[in-house]
Symmetry: D3
Subunit: 259 residues, 6 copies
Amino acid sequence: MPSPKWLQRMTWEEFKLNLERCDVIIIPVGSTEQHGGHLPLGTDTFVANTLAEGASEQTGAIIAPPVWYGWSPHHMVLPGTVTIRPEILIGLLFDIIEALAHHGAEKFVVINGHRIVNISWMQIACEKAQRVLGIRAAIFDPSYMSKEIVPELEFGPVGHGDEIESSHMLYSYPELYRAEKVLDYIPDYKPLLSADPAFQGDTLCYIPSTIKNMEKSVKVAKGISGSPSRSCKRKGERYHKHLVQRLSEVINNMQEKEE
Amino acid sequence: MPSPKWLQRMTWEEFKLNLERCDVIIIPVGSTEQHGGHLPLGTDTFVANTLAEGASEQTGAIIAPPVWYGWSPHHMVLPGTVTIRPEILIGLLFDIIEALAHHGAEKFVVINGHRIVNISWMQIACEKAQRVLGIRAAIFDPSYMSKEIVPELEFGPVGHGDEIESSHMLYSYPELYRAEKVLDYIPDYKPLLSADPAFQGDTLCYIPSTIKNMEKSVKVAKGISGSPSRSCKRKGERYHKHLVQRLSEVINNMQEKEE
Amino acid sequence: MPSPKWLQRMTWEEFKLNLERCDVIIIPVGSTEQHGGHLPLGTDTFVANTLAEGASEQTGAIIAPPVWYGWSPHHMVLPGTVTIRPEILIGLLFDIIEALAHHGAEKFVVINGHRIVNISWMQIACEKAQRVLGIRAAIFDPSYMSKEIVPELEFGPVGHGDEIESSHMLYSYPELYRAEKVLDYIPDYKPLLSADPAFQGDTLCYIPSTIKNMEKSVKVAKGISGSPSRSCKRKGERYHKHLVQRLSEVINNMQEKEE
Amino acid sequence: MPSPKWLQRMTWEEFKLNLERCDVIIIPVGSTEQHGGHLPLGTDTFVANTLAEGASEQTGAIIAPPVWYGWSPHHMVLPGTVTIRPEILIGLLFDIIEALAHHGAEKFVVINGHRIVNISWMQIACEKAQRVLGIRAAIFDPSYMSKEIVPELEFGPVGHGDEIESSHMLYSYPELYRAEKVLDYIPDYKPLLSADPAFQGDTLCYIPSTIKNMEKSVKVAKGISGSPSRSCKRKGERYHKHLVQRLSEVINNMQEKEE
Amino acid sequence: MPSPKWLQRMTWEEFKLNLERCDVIIIPVGSTEQHGGHLPLGTDTFVANTLAEGASEQTGAIIAPPVWYGWSPHHMVLPGTVTIRPEILIGLLFDIIEALAHHGAEKFVVINGHRIVNISWMQIACEKAQRVLGIRAAIFDPSYMSKEIVPELEFGPVGHGDEIESSHMLYSYPELYRAEKVLDYIPDYKPLLSADPAFQGDTLCYIPSTIKNMEKSVKVAKGISGSPSRSCKRKGERYHKHLVQRLSEVINNMQEKEE
Amino acid sequence: MPSPKWLQRMTWEEFKLNLERCDVIIIPVGSTEQHGGHLPLGTDTFVANTLAEGASEQTGAIIAPPVWYGWSPHHMVLPGTVTIRPEILIGLLFDIIEALAHHGAEKFVVINGHRIVNISWMQIACEKAQRVLGIRAAIFDPSYMSKEIVPELEFGPVGHGDEIESSHMLYSYPELYRAEKVLDYIPDYKPLLSADPAFQGDTLCYIPSTIKNMEKSVKVAKGISGSPSRSCKRKGERYHKHLVQRLSEVINNMQEKEE
């Protein structure tokens, strides 16, 4: 299998050649944000990177250098978290796409390793990019793209540092997994509130929590919500492969569609 | 039943008195956007207003003057649509909340009559308001708050000017409903794409369409997608009452919770 | 007489038809701001709306949905007032005009129901709209458009919640007028200071007051300056009709001038 | 008579000393803008400077270095004109006041040598400065401060490069006056339009012209409107002294008022 | 020798004529900033102005009105200093160039009288102007343009209000020089730190000091660093003439190069 | 030797612990920009990363996740280059520092792998961070920190993809070096122009080139200026170790200085 095609490792001539072979560019975006006692601060970006690499190997799509920082105001409750203002992130993503569009790229998949919180500003950046630059963009988010497999794997709902994310990291980056530090925390059920895109009941729309609302998770489980003690490398592998396969489908669909 | 408590109709003394009685303020936000041949350009704001009025009658919550304009870049394909840049809308909503917070209000429900498109900028505005001003905010959106009743009413998926929205308007504003102009259009199924929060398959995240992608809906059904021909006043009533009841619950929950 | 042509009540096809009949669009802008014990917080927007309706009936001009919020930093001294930053209002008004210009509208009358305070940011927005979009704009303000009739009606100078505004509201919205709450307050004469466009002496230019400078008006007259006790429905009617007639003239002049 | 107290010519110790003697700072703001065939591009700033100097001599007020650039979008029709975006000018004036307020200054008179066009952005900057910094600001504009003397001097209405401005320049900067280049142009009367603060009829609010609307003035009189051929040094002197005396009054009033 | 060609003293016709003769425009930018006990607050702008005048006399280049304010956050430690945010200065300089480019000017030399601190924002403004407007710009800074003559004149390193700047002011503006107030202060050597472009050792990049780091200079020498007691009119003259000659070279090179 | 302390690989508890051991945080910033036929697009960020790693090993300083994108408007001439607007980069760097300062970090070294072009916006971001957040920042740039060793190594002047950069990459990332693609190009000497901080003659200040001015370098040497054919791994090693040692010195100096 060919190795993943990271843009930053290519010369400009190699970039040009690779773009001719596959005209979709993947932009991995994550966050730098606390992930409890057992997962590293870079988890969300590592997730975006490993998905990008998997799909790049299968499709030949170029991967732009990762954006390591995202929007994480609520996780500022614990050290090491870095949050960037949405207006800055919108400008950054737009400028990346604009520059690559200037060189002839017309199709982009933005991978969001950070789940629901990054989506709002990405929608604004991508809508502007599509309208102003005439390119096509898609936002690929693991929590929206695993609605079919998560119940099959008998994972619980989307939380933070939960068994889904933890299984994925355990599979893709075992050296960054502190198994001995795992803690579980199942928040009380709150009616009309859920950040899980697969939740079927009536809900309000997601707003990133206040720091105050993070306190219980911090106190009980060092910032986690979910049951990472249930994480499992084999399930992580199936989850990862499902997402890589979906991402490759998205890229292939985009390539085929000539407009 | 008491009449809805619109802020703009009160003197400042009446505002003060009403705020003491119920300390939640509703902010109705919609859009000015084409809704096909049978629904008016103001549909989304009318929807937000009628829900606000229903819940204000039940709870006594004050309703701030409506924001008639939203983010509608894709509907610029048809005349009469007005789209405002997300950064302006973020500033506008934040300033409204900030001013009312200055006068002592601490709890806000923003009603989004415009469904998925307005949510991204509202999340950014509300997160900032919660963090900077120390207030509590909720975003109430009909498409997220009717996931339980829509299947029961045997409505199809969320579209635009669809049978859900049309039934609602038929019930709440029959004088604005042009029954003779109704057209249906069921877009082809696109794998991995759905703007319906209740959809259970794997999906990419929503990005407002390009004008190009609106063309078929324009050509076939004057801008509609869905089956408004199936709209029904009685279902509209049940849908409306479900939402008003949910909105009242949200307001009551907020009032009770003293933090 | 035909009814006023509110854009939000039309379908997009009706909008198109009406724009062909009269190519001037009225945009009513007000404020949400304390108006003493006897007038509602929405007074300035109600004023803009009723003038818009009057002229729309006479000319057929379309009225865009009202902007209920304006620039009111000084009136934040009393509850219920909402002030929006001028840069946000400039962006909002520009975007409304830009979207409608995109659909072919070329002539706009912005009605300012809020008198002198809104004018500065409207000038900046309208200049940009004229220059960038190639449209024509006019700002219609009651205090500038009644310099001829006010002395005739023996009203005192422009204040806040004064007999001019009060008479107008008494005529146009009697149900919102709290006659029993009327208080008068005549501020001390300050040399070289006047916010009345009709004042003939030398003056400094208007700057919205500080909250500190509002205190006396708050203490003595619940936020009023002027003599609303002298307000009179019949004078309000003459004042209203003068303004509606002027507004219709402005619209007719714009329509005739083909450039 | 003491010489004018320009800040840029003082050391910081002299600034400190002078601020103790008179705690009002004058900020002269003008424009760089065509003024026909007979007046220099810097006319508006020269006007602001000479008024500042006159009042500084009488009151001891410090004069901040002049802002030579203003908002002149319409005069871009002729070469040499420089227009700055209002948002930049607002930021510039606010920052000047903020820095001087940081050093203890609490009272500011902004002189606008550019007449009506600069006022809108100055209002926004000064309101913010008063509210955020707790200082007091006044905007002194020749056309608002000469409503009493202009009829007495039998000048015509405010135009551009008119007999008022020309007489003033002839008196204060005779070496910059090209007498042989004077041209007159009296624009047609336009109902409901006037940029003269002393005009008594009903008017729309001022919006800076489009370049198209400047064309006749350019063609007929090299950018002038008014009757500079009627300019007169002696009248210029009386006009100048009236304004200097008014400016000194404003400064003295500010000094006395201790709040 | 012809007199310096200040734009603000020309009519628009004279501007046009002069631009035909020499198509390079000089924009002098300085600061308003403490310069110790012996130099005026306007020193940096006076320096830019006198260099501009010298080169204008030799080359016929037009000089735009001076920008008296720059970026001086660290000098806010002493009264009279005015600092403007870099984003405002970027906008201001860009707008000046854009307006003059609109009138046909294609070549600009920005003189920075303020040495290293202004350069960062000027680079951003000039890059944008070159890219967006298609003009050519150069930034002329005395400390970069005197690397050859300063050792010859046996001046010490670049400081603030040092013998270089003081000698220059003594020559060009003797009436603004307070000889009796001169104080010296040689800061301790800090390894890997120097703001002198001629320094040959390894260094970190310049960042404007904090106010805290200015304290010693304030305490010992009223804000100065360097040895102004060694200043010398004759050396100032040679320094001035070197810079004027260099500036004229730059202007002549620009004129010749037709692209 | 301990391994480099990348923040993204730590949990939040490890971050906290490491910050207690060494309270300086390194932020590596580079660019994504063409580097000729023989060096990868990510060269500047790789340079920042390898220096950061070297100094982290020696000092224990934490390294924040790299910023892969910088300001590269002129290199947009060749494909693969990504340029971000300076105002976005200023916001991004400020936000990173602000978030880490929130967690108690007080000392930052920003490594600029991109040489002169990134410095301007970094100065603006770091000045603001120092002033607003009370932290200490330093900007470490290879071209300023190798003025002493470069002549010793007999390298030519700073260019682009030159023998300095190439030797460094050859040493640190040999697998990314395409030896067979090396081309040389020595631009003509331009009087009064040099981007090399070690250049001793009089110069104008640097402004990023226009795309037009890049054309010769593109044509002759695929975007290079300098003599990479002279690059040498052993010299690259000495250069690298000099910089790592300097960076460690800077970090140690910062740690010692308690304020």
